[in-house]
Symmetry: C2
Subunit: 295 residues, 2 copies
């Protein structure tokens, strides 16, 4: 039996993810807050629903891919939410990036109705979403994970069952803080090279061959050299993810100096008006402070 798939939130990330599921042969029911966003999916055979509740009624598995904790709470638990339509034995998979504590609370609420919930945030950006090569970090019950795995394999190329409910979001917090630190460090390094009269492109090339190698230096380092600040991954979303990270870190009574330093740079970038630009715009904050430009 082919599972019937619901998809709530076909945005920059969600639309190509839903499209990949359609192309893999799954029947898909979609809810979009902005219905125009779902037109291209309807043209490929998706059914459009007027509310998340209708998606829940139609589907065996509902995937959500929206912006923030409050959006997930609304589409899942609101009056017209998925929970109001879904039957026992259903599975909810939230692939948004939200607070680990909130995802655990929601999973408990669904469990009361015999509905399983996985948290499965992703890394890899819109490029990874289109190519079906996302990295997917999964928290929740092992049976639910196994049920969902064939669908994860349509959307991603690195899929790790990190642990119990919330573990996927915890891994995503870790992911976003490591990415932010790498962006800050790449900007620092390339701008220093420029100031020292050395070709930053050659420095990037040299560093990629050694212990300084990272996916961020490879991808965002090249964006910085090209001054290509088209998102990609929007700075304001990285700011949102780091707010979640800093809150979760504080919840556990931790003080992590490196995260705080890099979060400040992202905050300044948003305040400077680059929230809709790529997160590599952190470079421009640094350029402003130091009065030089990379390229």
């Amino acid at each position: 039996m082919v599972e019937r798939i619901g998809f709530v939130g076909p945005g920059i990330m969600g639309r190509p993810m839903a499209l990949n599921l359609l192309q893999a042969g799954y029947p898909v029911w979609v809810y979009a807050r902005t219905p125009a966003r779902a037109v291209s999916l309807a043209e490929r055979g998706a059914s459009l629903c007027p509310t998340p509740r209708d998606v829940g009624r139609a589907a065996d598995i509902v995937i959500t891919m929206v912006s923030d904790t409050s959006d997930v709470e609304e589409v899942l638990l609101g009056d017209d939410g998925v929970i109001a339509g879904m039957q026992e034995g259903g599975l909810v998979v939230d692939m948004s990036t939200i607070a680990p504590a909130a995802t655990r609370r929601m999973a408990k609420r669904f469990a009361e109705q015999q509905i399983a919930m996985l948290d499965a945030p992703v890394s890899g950006g819109d490029v990874g979403a289109r190519a079906g090569t996302l990295s997917i970090m999964v928290g929740g019950d092992a049976d639910a994970y196994r049920r969902m795995l064939p669908l994860f394999e349509v959307m991603g190329s690195s899929i790790v069952h990190v642990g119990e409910s919330g573990a996927g979001q915890v891994a995503k917090v870790c992911n976003q803080l490591v990415v932010a630190a790498n962006i800050a460090a790449s900007a620092d390094a390339l701008l220093f090279a420029k100031a020292a009269g050395v070709d930053p492109a050659k420095v990037r090339e040299a560093l990629l061959g050694g212990f300084a190698a990272s996916k961020v230096l490879e991808v965002h380092g090249q964006r910085m050299l090209d001054r290509n600040f088209e998102p990609g991954f929007k700075l304001k979303l990285h700011q949102k993810d780091l707010r979640i990270a800093l809150e979760a870190i504080a919840d556990h009574g931790l003080e992590l100096r490196c995260v705080e330093a890099v979060a400040a740079g992202i905050q300044e970038g948003v305040e400077a008006g680059w929230g809709e630009h790529d997160t590599s715009s952190v470079l421009r904050v640094l350029e402003g402070h130091n009065g030089i430009e990379l390229a």
Copy 2:
């Protein structure tokens, strides 16, 4: 004609590098401040010299691999230094990590005697030195680079001619600050996962599949999980490299927040007595601040 190679500084890094040159068929003359360190090279056919000057007299190309700027100045330009023995047309290749400004000064001094000098610091640690898979960042004249390339290819697997004299050291500054930021961010991430009740090993695995992937998370992340603080690369040497980085950054009037935050963690680790341990000991500084242990 096979070039005669001089090697000054057969330490943890230098000895396996010199050994690889011997095994590739080059005749090698060695000077070691602590002669016992050169015994294993002599057993493989290297000639031992009593001073760097004698190495300069015997060799066409002299490689130096010592600890800090003042050591390089002494073995190259001191009374018994390489410069006192070397003939016109010789080539000096400093593979130590030292201040970019100092290497430029030394290259000018050698140029007055028609001796070329390259700066060619490396990344990859003792593992890379033994395996001949170092990343080598080269600054200096293109003809000298081409002359040295066959030897670089014996010692390394990623060799980049970054630019003119000093450019190799500038790239190494960039390398060390990116590595330090990655170590700090990896420690932050893994310790947060632990505090949040999630398996840090699973988090590392998940992150390596996405945009947070880095060589440091792979290698040093595993060291942290294993609590294996055997060097590797000593914390006190990373401290030295970041001192060079911070001085060079200040020389150019730059303020790079991320570097300063991570340098502080390394400084604290050295003060706590872990200078002889691996640079991943930065984790232990963070553990101390937060009153928890990763594993």
